[in-house]
């Protein structure tokens, strides 16, 4: 079985980010970059599927600047077999990313595309579903459990009301939610060892026509400063006063 895992380089989700003063972008000076947390979960799951059944080949791909190599190397260290960097300085929207990935899927013909449900920088939650549409693949978003069957996957996915179990014939696309697994820790020697694994650089194959574009970034309106109350009685009194109870 061949699994393709698209990963995105994002600013560390625990760092404090601000808009640039002219609103043209986000100030990331001095901040760390990571594999998007949901994508790391997707890589981990692919590796676990291999650990369970052996015959799994894992290819990771990232579309972006040359620096994405850092995240692809880490993915190789977690256990991916091969990395592809589609190197570009171009601005993309979700549909553009989906089309570039669709072209790679056509070439690589994986049985499963396994990816993050959402990038923690743009919080879009779009690319997986758009890619599945382009490929005509069945999809399971927000996966919390994946089981491999003969010619299909059985996926438990989270819903607004609880969860559901879907069976998807291969080839199919699955997006990972937080509870799918907890990614393993990779120590530095593992990352260094992964340097001998193949990483292929290439240029995009699909021209981009932006359909949406972020044009301004600002801080959210601040909440009015709160106050501490000294007792339960005081709290209940102010809440009653404001009609909350």
């Amino acid at each position: 079985m061949k699994i393709l895992v698209p990963i995105k380089r994002v600013v560390d989700p625990y760092s404090k980010v601000r808009p640039l003063s002219d609103g043209s972008g986000i100030d990331t000076t001095g901040l760390k970059f990571e594999i998007n947390p949901f994508d790391e979960i997707a890589i981990e799951e692919a590796v676990r599927l291999r650990e369970k059944s052996g015959d799994v080949e894992i290819i990771v791909v990232s579309i972006g600047k040359s620096e994405c190599e850092e995240q692809l190397r880490k993915a190789l260290a977690i256990g991916a077999d091969k990395a592809i960097l589609i190197e570009t300085d171009q601005e993309y929207d979700s549909l553009g990313i989906a089309k570039e990935l669709a072209s790679l899927v056509a070439e690589q013909a994986p049985d499963v595309v396994l990816m993050g449900k959402q990038a923690t920088d743009d919080d879009c939650n779009q690319v997986g579903q758009m890619l599945a549409a382009k490929l005509g693949y069945p999809q399971a978003t927000f996966a919390s459990k994946i089981e491999r069957l003969q010619t299909s996957l059985k996926v438990t996915r989270e819903t607004d009301e609880g969860d559901e179990i879907l069976e998807l014939p291969l080839p199919c696309l699955v997006t990972a939610d937080l509870r799918l697994n907890e990614p393993r820790y990779v120590a530095l020697p593992g990352i260094i060892k992964a340097r001998s694994k193949p990483l292929e650089r290439r240029t995009p194959s699909v021209p981009v026509t932006l359909k949406t574009r972020p044009v301004f970034f600002e801080s959210p309106p601040p909440r009015a400063a709160g106050k501490k109350v000294s007792s339960v009685d005081e709290l209940v009194a102010v809440l009653r006063d404001r009609g909350a109870f």
């Binding site: 923690t120 559901e164 932006l210 301004f216």
Partner: protein
């Protein structure tokens, strides 16, 4: 000419959509996939698909995409289901998409939060059609119009995905994303039984819904559909009570639109006190029962 198709997965979503449609200011039709629109939204037409249940995303998205022909804007309330399906609709239509719209500047310019709400971005739409999901909290309910003409449309529910089973939890409590009062608990609730007794018991006293942090869900204290935050549900109640919650950016991303935020935390330096309207430094296991007693008197 610009025209909106407001997609209602269930008839009960009609009251959430009317405010958004009014704010967009375009003439519009609604597509009701199951049931009937429960309120008059001011739509010109109601397309009634008459599905008895919602099929998996591949089948549902094809149906919606077919019925979306001719509309410039295709929109639905933001939740896990609409994210699953509407982004696939955008893929089929080769359309741009704006997720989680919180404010409309014009029919081609929208505000939405990014980076767990740390930043608001203005997104420009450069082509039609465009697919949108919106957070209803930011849009006042629209004025009810006359009853729209109803038109039956055919919906094909067949796809490659097979649904084996489905669980619907929640019971008698109000729906988290629409409740007037939400009480949420974090990691210190220890186990499922304690969470249900302390947080659930309090919620039932005040007629509220129950929420949880990711830490609580991850450690099996609370079920996943209760997670509030960047990657869980977005809530906007009149009163949000956070008990034993530190106030991570990711959690705050889901509660910012609450009218009043109350934090109960035993650490006076917990970050949540910076964004709570009222903060009580206390042990939640003492404070919540004390509030219940005070309310009873």
């Amino acid at each position: 000419m610009s025209k909106l198709l407001l997609v209602l997965f269930t008839g009960s979503e009609s009251s959430l959509g009317s405010g958004f449609a009014a704010a967009l200011g375009l003439s519009f039709d609604v597509l009701t996939l199951t049931g009937h629109a429960e309120t008059n939204t001011g739509a010109e037409k109601e397309l009634v698909a008459g599905l008895t249940s919602l099929p998996p995303a591949d089948a549902l998205a094809s149906t919606i995409a077919t019925l979306s022909q001719g509309y410039t804007h295709i929109a639905a309330t933001s939740n896990m289901r609409s994210k699953d399906v509407m982004a696939r609709v955008a893929g089929i239509l080769d359309a741009g998409m704006v997720t989680d719209v919180t404010l409309i500047e014009s029919p081609t310019r929208f505000k939405r939060p990014v980076l767990a709400g740390s930043i608001i971005s203005i997104v420009e739409v450069l082509s039609t059609p465009v697919v949108l999901t919106f957070r209803p909290a930011g849009f006042a309910k629209g004025e009810a119009g006359g009853a729209p003409d109803q038109v039956s449309v055919s919906a094909d529910a067949s796809g490659k995905t097979v649904r084996i089973s489905q669980s619907v939890r929640g019971g008698a409590r109000p729906d988290l994303s629409q409740a007037k009062i939400v009480i949420s608990g974090g990691r210190p609730l220890r186990d499922a039984e304690t969470f249900e007794r302390v947080i659930g018991g309090f919620a039932d006293k005040v007629g509220g819904a129950v929420g949880a942090t990711r830490a609580a869900v991850d450690s099996g204290i609370a079920p996943n559909e209760l997670q509030v935050g960047q990657t869980g549900k977005i809530v906007a109640p009149d009163l949000y009570i956070a008990a034993g919650i530190s106030g991570s950016t990711q959690h705050m991303a889901g509660i910012k639109d609450s009218k009043i935020i109350v934090a109960i935390n035993k650490d006076p330096d917990a970050p949540i006190f910076e964004s709570a309207d009222y903060g009580l430094v206390a042990d939640l296991f003492d404070a919540l029962p004390a509030i219940e007693r005070a309310l009873g008197s």
